[in-house]
Symmetry: C2
Subunit: 440 residues, 2 copies
Amino acid sequence: MESVKLGLAGFGTVGSGLAAILEENGDWIERRIGRKLEIRTAVVRDLNKARAVNPGPDTEFTTDMTRLTTDPEIDIVVECMGGLETAYDLIRTALEAGKHVVTANKHLLAERGPELFSIARKSGKGLYYEASCAGGIPIVETLKSSLAGDRVLEMLGILNGTANYILSEMTTKGMDFGTALALAQDLGYAEADPTFDIEGFDTAHKLCVLSRLAFGVDYPLDRLPIQGITSVTPLDIQFAREFGYRVKLLAHARSVEGRIEAGVHPALVPYTYLLARVGGNYNAVRVVGNAVGPVMLHGQGAGDKPTGSAVLADILDIAKHMNRPGCEEAYRPDNTGFGNADLPEADILPPEEARSKYYFRFTVADRPGVMAAIAKSMADHSISIAQAVQKTDEDSEGVPVVFISHESRAKDVTDCIEPSTPWTSRFCLASASEFFKVST
Amino acid sequence: MESVKLGLAGFGTVGSGLAAILEENGDWIERRIGRKLEIRTAVVRDLNKARAVNPGPDTEFTTDMTRLTTDPEIDIVVECMGGLETAYDLIRTALEAGKHVVTANKHLLAERGPELFSIARKSGKGLYYEASCAGGIPIVETLKSSLAGDRVLEMLGILNGTANYILSEMTTKGMDFGTALALAQDLGYAEADPTFDIEGFDTAHKLCVLSRLAFGVDYPLDRLPIQGITSVTPLDIQFAREFGYRVKLLAHARSVEGRIEAGVHPALVPYTYLLARVGGNYNAVRVVGNAVGPVMLHGQGAGDKPTGSAVLADILDIAKHMNRPGCEEAYRPDNTGFGNADLPEADILPPEEARSKYYFRFTVADRPGVMAAIAKSMADHSISIAQAVQKTDEDSEGVPVVFISHESRAKDVTDCIEPSTPWTSRFCLASASEFFKVST
């Protein structure tokens, strides 16, 4: 039977990872699907750049993107170049030209997924994206197929390996944020501009993509509350540990009486959770379904071969089901997990109304009445204190005071720590007040 | 569009769990696949038995199994009664009658899977079995689809919730095996006859099923080395903890230079592994692929709704892809993950040749030279000692001596602890020598 022909846009980390796997596991893949997979064309920016992986003499390297969509031999276009405009145009054109598309582009899917899924539906083609979230972890397939009959109640994810690596180093080695970030950059885990990773944007993109699969609604990226990890200090990590928690950058989403509460925040995760033990640059997702209960998936969230493996899973799924002559309309790929219907916009629980336990740390003057004044202000804002610690530190200008609250409303929390609140102006010193969510 | 009609064989834990989910999530499921799911017929042994879940007036309850295979309206037969002969006959007849089949029956699949897959292939029908392994954890789909392009190097699984519950109770509460088993029976986690769970047979059935998906070969159940947990003592668990391990009943399989080494054994799992933290009646599977690296899945391995959720995943997968009029041959379900080809028999690494680290515990007389004699005998059998502990216990007839070896050949280990070995007859007292594998 004829081989399945791929056209790759981009031959960087993901593209060359895919090529390396095809080379290594080619016979195995043929056994799986009864056909060969072949990279027919790879579009690159610089034809003269040295490449670590060579897909073989039958692969054409070109700078001409239109080859991917005009070559009738290409069955599946694999978009692994990233970015927004060019990738959008390619995917749209490919779908309209009757190609299936596999992409790892979470940013694009988060920003313009609904438009692209709508185009894919009209074309009757697959737009698959396992590699867009959590690298090699099969979370897209799990939400789309394996938990399809479950109503997802809650989803928690560690979706950015760079941020998790930085927090892990801070936890195990007591490093401060800047040192851990520099180390991550040295090791190639963080990019020169790490904004997307450390400010939570990358995690937010993935949360958008996964929320659609889990809840069947679109939660627009620009309405998602996002807090990064730049303000997490070694002191926070140490206090969290004393209370029995680890600090993680979490994507969280849950269904609250039909409305979706979601966001990206540094959070204290109970050490009894497996999620708290996810170390280094690993990713993990914990999904709670109303039938299946809690399910957790753990694996490598990035890297050439793990991500290439996820791209390949999508390719194989399409290749297995691709139409055969005489049955053109038989295969209707399910891209969204909801028969490709346009998803309604989420009924969003306004982030300021969301309820959570919170961790608070204040740096205060070491004098009588401080704890009492803060506690009173918290009470005035309906924040009930579950745990509190104050420590004396003779070397420092102020002492840290830490509270963990019972479930409180986000608005009350932000109101309470507003600089204009009397006790903050009275007792807070140089360092900003920090507050993180606490998972339960 | 017309509803998808199910015929259920059995309405026990799994069947009623499925019915409960269909009732609770019916609208959601219809949104997912664009059609209703309907239990048309349920075959039960006793029509007068009270049922906790009522699937509604349109469901016919009957004792006549032939209704499932002769009713042309039934699209999918769901076998959730267990057992071997009757279940085999039903599945064969259903496939031959052109029905898709979903089953949770790991014992049957382990014993006679290859025959049934062959029949399904000839009929062009789906024989799906997500629920047969690890309850709600989507490990079948993950191996069959998400990791399809990976060569699996190794697979470790905690696949029996009853055994894991007993070991967890022994670990956290210091119970002995018998007490923990009785507790598990009281709580309904263990059956009146717990043989399959505690002797490792149930785990072995699941390992057979998963090995096919992971390695594309059939490892016959009767050649699989199986060791249960009845000989694990609180002392073993305590020693394991001191060495940095937890004792778990593991299904393990790996590819060793093209040959498959597999088995079911109690094993010491390093506490740094997430797998070591799988508590209570949970299940988990850790798969290492040559591209994706290590991936771990964790969730509830049993129970009405978790297992029902897995059955439902299979039903939805079939329902999404089922042929439409005019395109009868378009959907060719992939049951084995290898285009339904008959799988070759595994090239088996003889279990006695398998290499592993081992944990040994001996109860010996407290007199000079004991440790030296045992160590010498181990050296004579090419077993190199990595760690050793001997403790004095004045109250007891003998003292425990524990060794952890470097990688050793299974045959050397069994030869070494044979009762005829001089030092065992000399020093061993009443209790048997125990040895477990040590995972790395």
